[in-house]
Symmetry: C2
Subunit: 344 residues, 2 copies
């Protein structure tokens, strides 16, 4: 492949992370392989994109199972892992995208991608301090908290799994929308301190410190109006007991990385749910353009106003670090949203 | 008390059904007592109403418990049972109501009631074939099916406990709103036949005939879009498994007469609920004026068009039959909505 003065250099080959074999038990480094493949020049209507940052999501583990129950196709053996990346156009054979454009894609963990221009979405490179800000669970958190649970003025809000990729954004979204009090749960003293000291939670507790229902009732003596669930199990059951009348529940947990886990089948106390007229909204979203737009607009404004902390861990070191970053995320060794920097 | 030519005769004393003692175990005839009390002439702003029909609801059993968890006050020992009646004004000392007016009230099981005119709601006596039609779970069924579950054109709808007071109306409401297929469950072959032969259900099954999930899947191979639940337990769990994406659930069961029963704590399969983006709306309603209005308007039109069967059992024999009618209802010996004719 040749380069000239107007275009960045492009190597002849580049690496990608592939699924080595389907997952049936615990995930290990052996489930991934890194392959070297040719970088293909774009044909008419195509562009070539260099990957700058890739997202790391717990759901990727589920997509490594052949019988994945998620409503998207699971990964194929020999195909790329991943599904949320940002990059820079380095060759273009389509008038809709120019060399240098920042784009979002679902191309997987490869250093370069050649594909039709329509499969990339152009981004505003001036909106955020880093293009990695485009990679988060933000659209999921915003849709659940703003559209489904409708957290707003005066609400008492409880977020389970509050230090995770979704939870660390969801609590702040509620606060920015005027919630009176935002309470979070997490699995360690360090995470509890992080919620209150860095993410603006009004109160937080470690779910290991006693029955969730007792801890929650102490922190929300008049009940909760909104519950944003990332966990299921005991936390869901406690939230029903502590719910105020007409409380709204956005349930997005018990999903990612938790297939076969223990949080997936809580008891639903129907009598309490009925007499309190609760609204239960379990949901999964794969980020429609409208959801991405709503999230991006709001978080950019809140960031510019100094009201929002963007909790992100950027793993340096390139493509070779991606499998380990997923393993670390699944082991609970990260807080907030995780990306791996490939380039840029 | 005197009468003249312009007003109906009124006796000096009349009977009422009182709570003899609070319920702690099984309900028996000994929990009721019938007392003879003076009929009081209305003072300024008051009217005297003769009770024509009283409603019989399973929830009355719950209100007989001192620790009733419903968000309305339980019955007091020595106070009247009941809470949904229609009657006729026989004396008026208020310009807003005239002798002969048909009214609705929440005055309990008494033959006569003297109270402020504002505690009665005037009805249109020409709307229905009998004033007993004003006594039903219709507002509950309509609110759940139309407002919460939003059953409409092309929907496949499942109603559990479909032969009961709410269910026998809910399925027909779905059908009148354009549902493609309405499926009901009940607890006997006779009730199953009644659903299909008389209430216009497209299919029905006896939940004793095998696992609910298998029976439901056979009758709804492409899934259900709406679930209207009167039961909880296994029927709720099955509905989650057979739900189509974005199915709406109105959950009004596991409530009336079921405190301490087995249907109240089903497992919620969160993974399935999340990936299918279900909408779960547990609710109880005590019939707001708007809900009564919406139900009354629609059922009157559907009845006039010959599209609706009003499933009602009217127990004859006056006030002495009321306690037994409640016991029969709780024992499953009635279908549809139950009223007792006191007069009229």
């Amino acid at each position: 492949m040749t380069t000239d003065a107007s275009t960045p250099p492009v190597p002849q080959t580049a690496r990608e992370v592939r699924l080595a074999r389907h997952l049936d038990g615990a995930i290990t480094p052996g489930h991934f392989e890194i392959a070297e493949v040719p970088v293909r020049e774009p044909g008419p209507g195509e562009v070539l994109v260099r990957t700058d940052h890739v997202f790391v999501a717990a759901a990727y583990q589920d997509l490594m199972r052949p019988d994945c129950p998620l409503p998207v196709p699971p990964y194929q053996v020999g195909g790329r892992i991943g599904g949320g990346e940002v990059g820079t156009v380095v060759r273009s054979a389509d008038p809709s995208l120019a060399v240098g454009d920042l784009v979002q894609m679902m191309a997987g963990w490869g250093e370069y991608t050649t594909a039709p221009a329509a499969s990339f979405h152009r981004l505003d490179a001036t909106l955020f301090p880093s293009s990695s800000y485009y990679l988060s669970q933000g659209p999921t958190a915003y849709y659940g908290m703003a559209t489904l649970a409708r957290a707003g003025e005066g609400d008492v809000v409880f977020v389970s799994g509050a230090a995770g990729g979704v939870g660390s954004l969801a609590g702040q979204i509620a606060k920015c929308r005027g919630a009176a009090r935002v309470i979070g749960s997490a699995g360690s003293k360090e995470k509890v301190a992080y919620l209150v000291d860095e993410l603006g939670y009004d109160a937080a507790f470690d779910y290991h410190d006693g029955p969730v229902v007792d801890q929650l009732r102490k922190l929300a003596p008049d009940g909760i109006n909104v519950f944003f669930d990332n966990v299921g199990g005991e936390q869901f059951e406690a939230a029903v007991q502590v719910a105020a009348p007409h409380a709204r529940f956005a349930l997005c947990g018990a999903l990612s990385g938790q297939i076969g886990g223990t949080g997936g089948h809580p008891r639903l106390d129907l009598m309490t749910a009925i007499t309190r007229h609760l609204e239960l909204r379990p949901y999964a979203t794969y980020h429609t353009p409208e959801q991405v737009q709503a999230w991006t607009e709001h978080v950019a404004r809140w960031l510019s106003e100094g009201r929002f902390v963007f909790p992100q861990t950027v793993v340096e070191g390139g493509i070779e670090q991606a499998p380990g970053a997923l393993l670390d995320l699944l082991a609970g060794r990260h807080r907030g949203n995780i990306t791996v920097r490939f380039s840029g």
